[in-house]
């Protein structure tokens, strides 16, 4: 070490945060979900745009996700604390606007957690149970699958899963992180089993024969014709594939950036947020792409699209699930069992990440005293935010109810629209940071203050992200199959929740001013040095 590199340090205490780059990556992977997002490319992408390359869509979306991830990592690096997106936007743009956006995101995330939990009995369990029913000729499993997907089944199993998620979220953070880490490896193990089944199949004939064995003689050969008769138009088109990738990417990869919501707990946030988000994106891209390569070795893309099309658009019995494809090739209890354990466990992990990040957003509101501090109460023994987690569980139960009754919220389908609109506020804040708060920009970590020539990188990448977000809002309307058929009701719901958020902020500010003599606006005011 040369003399100029030396720093004289005297003996004193230190400061450390807790979540590592690996931990951030695990959170990101679970929020993307090795299970639910693992099914989408094969059951949905191929069927919404028959002919679109699955790997192409995964890759385009992943690359765009890298830009979005950088933007959110910069947000977390600029404000390394709970609810970094809200904190940054409130300080840079406007506190009321930032709270309104954060309010919508948190409330809807809570309800979406329920929607995702409802997906366990609604889709995941029936898929796995039907697989067992078909493979082992087990009528009980088939009946259970039918009941699981019914309104009663969704309500009963969904509520049980909400309670389970709620209970696990009351555990200390370190235990939760360990549960997630176990899930990460279980999820990868389930995929390893799928790879093994696909890779060891001798060739297309083996798949065709396995399919016909379990789905009926001649079934394999009839799928494309059936889909075409039902209206499927198979036309490879790179441009459409790219457009599809832009919006489907948000579905598949949503969640890689969530450690930004608890940036205050991520050590070396300026580095680990980006590493975590990019790693989560790249790992899931590798996992899903490898599965596609192995599957397309056995089945043509057109057939994958047809099976998905039949499932999504007709009453024909169809099983467009990668887990089923693997299971028919290796129809034994161990294969099906390992996949089922990995899938169900990681689906609970998915809900846990929503509970976790939403509770941290609520923390940031409580810390700014917008909501009563009791909501952010941390139990002294377990170190868990019991009130916030319970509130999120209530929201999640609403999501389960909505899914069980096929209600108006259709949370899963509308989440892209809600999430993307609310993201515009913090992304705009970090994009304009160099111009609105140059002091903060100059003092920020390198990931924030890096420049390309004279142009701040965060502005450049923020602009790309804004275009990406803008396209997804537009695409939500243009592609109802993916956007969820956004209608006037959805837009009004968004506006109503947003306006309630604004009203909460204004009411809280007035209350604190009159009763306590403090103005919440002071929290956000810049303090120039004397």
């Amino acid at each position: 070490m040369s003399a100029t590199q030396r720093l004289f340090v005297r003996q004193s205490s230190g400061l450390v945060r807790t979540i590592s780059a690996f931990g951030a990556m695990v959170f990101g992977v679970h929020c993307i979900s090795l299970s639910s997002s693992g099914l989408i490319p094969f059951s949905w992408v191929a069927s919404v745009w028959p002919g679109a390359s699955i790997i192409g869509v995964l890759t385009v979306a992943m690359i765009l996700g890298l830009f979005h991830a950088y933007t959110y990592a910069a947000i977390g690096a600029a404000m390394p604390r709970s609810g970094a997106d809200y904190v940054l936007a409130s300080r840079i743009l406007n506190p009321t606007l930032a709270f309104g956006a954060s309010w919508v995101l948190a409330l809807f995330s809570g309800v979406v957690a329920g929607g995702l939990i409802a997906w366990i009995p609604g889709t995941a369990l029936p898929t796995l149970l039907r697989t067992i029913g078909i493979l082992f000729n087990n009528q009980t499993a088939t009946d259970l699958a039918t009941w699981s997907a019914s309104s009663t089944g969704i309500l009963v199993i969904g509520t049980a899963c909400v309670l389970l998620t709620w209970a696990t979220m009351l555990l200390p953070t370190q235990t939760i992180v360990r549960i997630l880490e176990v899930g990460f490896f279980l999820g990868l193990a389930a995929w390893a089993v799928i790879y093994f089944a696909l890779a060891t199949a001798p060739g297309p004939e083996a798949f065709q024969s396995a399919w016909d064995r379990f789905m009926g003689a001649g079934s394999f050969a009839s799928r494309i014709d059936l889909a075409v008769q039902a209206g499927m138009e198979y036309s490879p088109n790179v441009a459409i594939m790219t457009l599809a990738g832009l919006i489907m990417g948000f579905w598949i990869y949503y969640g890689y950036y969530i450690p930004t919501f608890f940036a205050g707990e991520v050590k070396e946030a300026h580095r680990n947020l980006l590493i975590g988000a990019w790693s989560a994106l790249i790992i899931t891209w590798l996992v899903f792409s490898a599965a596609d390569l192995l599957l397309e070795r056995l089945v043509p893309l057109e057939w994958i699209a047809a099976e998905g099309y039949l499932y999504n658009n007709t009453d024909t019995f169809a099983m467009p699930w990668i887990t089923f494809y693997a299971s028919i090739l290796r129809p034994n209890v161990l294969v099906v069992g390992l996949i089922t354990i990995g899938w169900v466990y990681t689906l609970i992990n998915l809900a846990q990440t929503y509970f976790f990040y939403t509770s941290r957003i609520i923390f940031s509101w409580a810390f700014d005293r917008i909501i009563p501090s009791g909501i952010a109460y941390v139990h002294p023994r377990v170190g868990s935010p019991v009130v916030a987690v319970t509130l999120i569980a209530i929201l999640a139960e609403i999501g389960v109810l909505d899914a069980a009754t096929r209600g108006i919220l259709a949370t899963q389908l509308h989440f892209v629209f809600f999430a993307v609109i609310t993201q515009i506020v913090p992304v705009l804040a970090v994009t304009l940071l160099p111009f609105l708060k140059p002091d903060l920009f100059e003092a920020a970590p390198r990931i924030v203050r890096a420049k390309l020539g004279s142009l701040p990188v965060v502005t450049l990448i923020g602009a790309v992200t804004l275009v990406y977000l803008g396209w997804m809002i537009l695409a939500s309307f243009l592609f109802p199959a993916v956007g969820g058929g956004i209608g006037r009701g959805t837009v009004l719901t968004f506006l109503l929740i947003f306006l309630i958020g604004i009203a909460v902020h204004v009411a809280s500010r007035l209350y604190r001013l009159r009763r306590e003599g403090v103005d919440l606006a002071w929290t956000f005011r810049e303090i120039p040095p004397v």
Binding site: S2, Q5, F8, S13, T18, S20, T173, R515, G517
Partner: protein, 318 residues
């Protein structure tokens, strides 16, 4: 009685920018008193190496150079803002100081004395005309010689370490203790719990209305949610389990015991930068504002007192 507003902060660790923002916050929010919870001094000193008529330094891993007087001034300001001391020297001198800890300690002492003296003057300049007092205590990271500097304070800046003083014409009482319980780093003001207990009880003995007293103690109460920090092993390495950092309460049991028994109006604390918050221990509102001194961000709290009660409080940062 009318509203009495305190602006409280802690753990500046020599950040010039944060201290200046703190004074500014007191003026902006029309505080009746400013209070500082210790750890005033910095942890590191950056050698400004003279090389061929220019100065070079490495700050946070980034090599920076200054060729003109203006650039040198800017470099010094940058170093001061992140809480480091700067000292001009040659490469040979840097090598000498690296090999001679006693002389290196003298450099630190000079840097600390110069800065604290300047801060006191700055506070007097801005606060005295408005009649706003600044009450402070040292923290466990502050060397003992800091007492000599603080003892020289007169006028608006008041050292309340191991003292009681009256606020708002006697409506409230402020008692200060600038120490922490024993830390793995064996800092200059690490005390055994028994000593803290004894000192606090002595400070508060004879107080007529404990419910109107404010306890200014650097270390937060044990297991209050204001004292959560990484667990360390014997070699001061962070303890991990399952790949995660183990966190544990590290505050003072004596401080908690005394607060629970005496139930003062307020407990003002610092020390654990990563554990800011407001917590109630019985009737006592305990505050740790945390610290982001290295980022040049002031973390503080506005606390309104009225009729012997906490009327309202708000964390601020900027």
């Amino acid at each position: 009685m009318k509203l009495f507003r305190i602006v409280y902060s802690s753990d500046f660790h020599a950040s010039e920018l944060v201290f200046r923002k703190f004074l500014s916050a007191g003026l902006m929010y029309e505080a009746r008193a400013l209070v500082v919870g210790g750890d005033l001094t910095g942890k590191a000193l950056v050698p400004l190496i003279r090389v061929d008529g220019r100065y070079e330094a490495v700050i946070a891993g980034v090599r920076r150079a200054a060729e003109t007087e203006t650039e040198l001034k800017q470099l010094r300001r940058l170093i001061a803002n992140v809480g480091y001391y700067a000292q001009e020297m040659t490469a040979d001198e840097a090598q000498y100081y690296a090999e001679h800890p006693a002389e290196q300690a003298q450099l630190f002492r000079r840097g600390i004395e110069e800065q604290l003296t300047r801060w006191i003057e700055l506070a007097e300049q801005h606060l005295r005309p408005r009649g706003i007092p600044l009450y402070l205590i040292p923290g466990n990271d502050d060397p003992l010689f800091v007492d000599e500097i603080l003892e020289r304070c007169a006028g608006s800046v008041v050292n309340v370490d191991r003292r009681r003083i009256e606020l708002a014409g006697g409506e409230y009482m402020l008692a200060g203790l600038g120490v922490s319980n024993e830390t793995p780093w064996r800092c200059p003001r690490d005390w055994p719990e028994e000593q803290i207990d004894r000192e606090l009880r002595g400070l508060l003995s004879g107080v007529r209305e404990p419910a109107r007293s404010i306890l200014l103690v650097h270390v937060p109460p044990y297991d209050s949610g204001l004292d959560t920090a990484p667990a360390l092993d014997q070699e001061l390495r962070i303890r991990y389990a399952g790949g995660q950092v183990l966190m544990e309460p590290v505050g003072s049991r004596a401080v908690r015991r005394v607060i629970e028994e005496v139930q003062p109006l307020l407990g003002l604390h610092g020390h654990i930068h990563e554990s800011p918050g407001f917590r109630k221990l019985g009737r006592t509102l305990c505050v740790n504002v945390g610290s982001e001194y290295a980022e040049g961000i002031l973390r503080a709290a506005i606390i309104n007192l009225e009729r012997g009660k906490v009327k309202g409080y708000l964390p601020i940062s900027g």
